[in-house]
Assembly symmetry: D2
Homo-oligomer: 270 residues x 4
């Protein structure tokens, strides 16, 4: 169902790869709600994924950008502003990658070159996008920025490896840049801490199925899926949530405030 919640709004969506991607669903929902969007991902991801399909569906241009490059991000935002004929109203950051995870290097043996690389992609990219947007005055008054994160930033999930530290850093950027952009231009910045979701990125994490099943049993409403996350992001991009900023918002069926469930206790007794 659509409500025209984002009618007249313009946004940039980072990180859609294929139909499993949360960013993909967010793009579809924003389009349904009347927004115009620009899609972006890294040149590599554009080759591997199916972003053109989404671009067609949403009538959106695709502008490649390596988020670890100031130049690429500047180009992306400049081109987006040209396309829209002005600033944007919302941004979704759905980007994360750990080289240590990819190479199956345990957390206690991390290679710090890989750690820096992962931080650059997963967290500093968010700062870079915001810094570039502020420099180019690219986000309109009362604009809304959301980055996706995971509860490993608060509690330990051993296999999440250095992505946990990256997400803690990402959430810190949301707070700190949220302050600066709020004071300067009433732009709000939040993170959405989503249930584990079976995406291409999620599947890269070792023992991810164990995660998902445990989370499902530990969430009174079950795990939130990508479509539901897209709905929630729409609410955060809309004018209904103008005063919500610098928050980490759990979208997880209650997982984060559940200590234990009857379902888990039962399983423990087996």
């Amino acid at each position: 169902m659509a409500y025209n919640l984002l009618k007249g709004k313009k946004g940039i969506i980072f990180g859609a790869l294929n139909e499993q991607s949360i960013a993909w669903k967010v793009a579809q929902r924003c389009h349904e709600e009347g927004a115009e969007i620009v899609l972006t991902n890294s040149p590599l991801a554009l080759r591997m994924g199916e972003l053109n399909k989404l671009a067609e569906e949403c009538n959106a241009p695709v502008i490649p950008a390596d988020v670890t490059s100031n130049e690429d991000v500047t180009n992306l935002i400049t081109k987006s502003m040209e396309y829209f004929g002005g600033g944007v109203d919302f941004v979704l950051h759905s980007i994360g990658m750990s080289v240590n995870v990819r190479k199956n290097i345990p957390y206690t043996e991390n290679n710090y070159d890989f750690t820096h690389k992962g931080l650059d992609i997963s967290a500093l990219s968010f700062h870079r996008v915001l810094q570039t947007a502020m420099k180019l005055d690219a986000i309109n008054e009362w604009g809304s920025v959301v980055a996706l994160t995971y509860i490993a930033a608060q509690r330990v999930f051993p296999d999440y490896n250095d992505m946990a530290d990256n997400k803690a850093y990402l959430e810190s950027i949301a707070r700190n840049f949220g302050y600066q952009y709020g004071v300067k231009k009433h732009v709000r910045i939040n993170t959405v801490s989503q249930s584990p979701t079976r995406t291409t990125a999620g599947n890269g994490v070792k023992g991810f199925d164990g995660f998902v099943n445990y989370a499902e049993k530990m969430s009174p409403l079950g795990n939130a899926d990508a479509n539901q996350c897209a709905d929630y992001c729409v609410s955060l991009f809309s004018d209904l949530t103008k005063m919500v900023t610098m928050q980490n918002l759990f979208h997880d069926g209650g997982f984060s405030f559940t200590g234990v469930t009857a379902a888990v206790i039962e399983q423990m007794e087996k």
Copy 2:
């Protein structure tokens, strides 16, 4: 602007007294968004306030209920179900009162009869509404319940007195009943932690103006007002936020995650 976000939904709204009330604004916005509502308040509040005016505007019945009475709450919910011809989809709890505050008794000299009375009205009332609703199976699948709270539940605001403890208790009920109602019927329960707001209730707190000014200076976006709170509640009652539950959601222009602002530091240097 209206989006038909609550079209076909039915709800009960506790605590509207006059045009300053947050609950008043929530009722208006829910009505605008297509919901049908029942309004309720205590018999005393109904005499003092202007609820009939709102009732007319929203085409809503008023059903009095003393929230400290199981009988009254049962009657309210039963009558609401009769009126709607079925269950409700959302509930707003916007109720709080401390006898110790009213009588200017400092926190360190609280009278415990008054403390119990305030807890009964401010916090146990929420449990009573939920318990009665569950018993009568009054909330539809995926229904949404919101109670208003204040950050004094997390950090000390000295003049807030025992309302701080009441709000901590209220938020605990949201979590605990949120688990139970989530598992049973996918009903979500959250609290919204609102900026200090100039309502009849707010004005009863000693030094409230000091609160409000400080909060304004400490919030990158400024204090959230009652209309904005109503918008946010609409988003939480809508289908866009189905997987958000057991959360305390700050709606405060960034106050909660701001340690200090340039504006406050400047004032401190005077």
Copy 3:
């Protein structure tokens, strides 16, 4: 091992019943560390328990007090001050009881008379002790007060019932009275959030064994036991922790910041 950490200090310890009690261990450790103590419990508990044995061991008077009675608490503190010839340096509050739990009434069907009674014993008793102490100027400058709590105040453990709400309220009192007593007399007030512990009180909670086993598997260091809790309380009563106040301190082997462990995932896969 003893260090004379509490040499010359005087304290009141609430809630020792028998050798399983955390308060019992705390009393023993405080005595070992050179403190003089007064022991107290309700008249009923004194009849059921073995407090005299502990009193003898610690060379401490036992002063009965029903913590729901202003008179009893006033008498206790007055008598303690007479005994010590002055104020006290530390207080342990280890008291909790829910009538709803005792009567096996589920959280969603709680009887509110029982709820009020449980709150009075489990949480308001803490306020009453502090208020009475402040009135009688019974706690020395830089004194230290600790109350025991449980993580159910933050996250839902379904069988913990209304004790979760009581503990949330208790922790709020620690913050709010901690502010007041800190400003007034540099007295610090904290709660210690302890692993589930096999005490007489703990055993009263339905499914308690499930709790304990799950917590053990979810804690990188395992569950903290009563002796370790006593050690920790000693550190909080000592002069080493003078600037720690208004905190809820987890003493739980890491449970509170662990999202999942390999041990739990393994069990989930069975």
Copy 4:
């Protein structure tokens, strides 16, 4: 006063520069409490500071190490183990530096090369020390590791710049490595979130005096000083706190849980 709390224990202390340093005070107190220690800092800091004075006082060797170098950290830990004839029981990490801060680059204009450099020194250094220690099996069973941090990891202090993000990352490492080292060898890892303290590092932060005064007025017990921090660290290195791990422990006179004080409200009304 000394209690022999650390008698027979051995530790490594990072980050003492001069008498203002918290690490300096921690070293002194550990020595007083009977510990043997190794002191370390970067070659540059060793030239600028007065560490030899402390070394003499504590009868401790100084082993230089650049914490951004795996080789240096390996050498430091290897040499320490040779010196002690075995593993260590505690480690203090008191290291932080932001190039962006030093160069007065505002947060919204950060240079990412500088950001990476600051992270490497301030946060990854902690991971490096722990990883190297684990590889060399350098920390004894039930050892204790503490890193110093600041509340800017939770809430925004605008002038703290990218050190806020570094501290968020540091605290995440404490949790994640705390899990791993806890499971493996019962080693506990915590961060201490200290009041703003007038050290050489603190004085480098723009508007630091404003910070300190505001924090003093916002803390019911006032700001904690370096000596008190040293006391607290001693308690965390002692056997009294064996089950405390993966925590961020506020040592701040109550600042963290105070929303506002009478003193601040008064100042706001000027």
